[in-house]
């Protein structure tokens, strides 16, 4: 079984199909194209989206509906294409999408969630994208516990 050596999480075993591919990378991290979602015992619902190539890079994320139960996903055409949602014959079904909000947990001050650019993962094709909205409805620094 392949393992991921993480500076923060230690050695993590995974299966090849656990990896999520981000064809566009993430804004600010364009070279990071592969991430492994890691959940640790006792830390649900928190997910570590750990880089497959950088041992000390991970993003903390939780399902977006825990941040805002009424959150409405809106995917721009370019992101729908990456996720294969436009291909009628393809695997693209909106019901297979997992939508995560990346958390920022500073040493001081409130934790925030990025609702402007949720991570959207297609759970069948294992393709992911950070889908930046173009409307001003949600903030990139939404205070978590208000």
């Amino acid at each position: 079984m392949p393992v991921l050596e993480s500076a923060s999480l230690g050695t993590v075993e995974y299966g090849e199909k656990d990896l999520i591919h981000f064809p566009l990378g993430l804004p600010g991290f364009e070279d990071e194209r592969t991430f492994l979602p890691v959940s640790r015992p006792g830390e649900a619902p928190l997910l570590y989206l750990h880089s497959a190539i950088t041992s000390d890079l991970f993003f903390l994320a939780i399902p977006v509906e825990l941040v805002d139960p009424n959150y409405e996903i809106k995917l721009l055409e370019e992101y729908r294409a990456v996720l294969g949602l436009n291909d009628v014959a393809g695997p693209g079904r909106a019901t297979d999408l997992l939508c995560l909000a990346v958390l920022c947990v500073p040493d001081e001050g409130p934790a925030t969630a990025n609702l402007l650019g949720p991570i959207v993962i297609h759970q069948t094709s294992h393709i992911g994208v950070q889908a930046i909205r173009e409307d001003a409805r949600y903030s990139a620094r939404h205070e978590l516990f208000r």
């Binding site: 600010g28 928190l46 402007l116």
Partner: protein, 78 residues
């Protein structure tokens, strides 16, 4: 903020090298054409916000701060 009115097909110069043209206005959206030197980075502002948020989110998290977020999340879920 400087405000300028332009019609479709009219242009604006930002400095000597950047040219902005209004190509179309449809359904509350403005379609702009930009001519600029290659080295000028052009980004939707939301992408820059998301990039900054990602860089902050990638910083080291103190175990204590993480524990406090986890505890709050559990309270929230109840």
């Amino acid at each position: 903020m400087l405000v300028i009115r332009r019609k479709i097909g009219e242009t604006l110069l930002l400095g000597p090298e950047i040219e902005l043209e209004v190509l179309a206005v449809e359904g509350g959206q403005v379609k702009l054409g930009i001519r600029a030197p290659r080295e000028i980075l052009i980004l939707r502002k939301e992408i820059a916000s998301a990039r900054d948020a990602n860089r902050n989110a990638a910083r080291k998290v103190l175990p204590l701060s993480l524990t406090s977020v986890l505890n709050r999340l559990r309270e929230f879920e109840k």
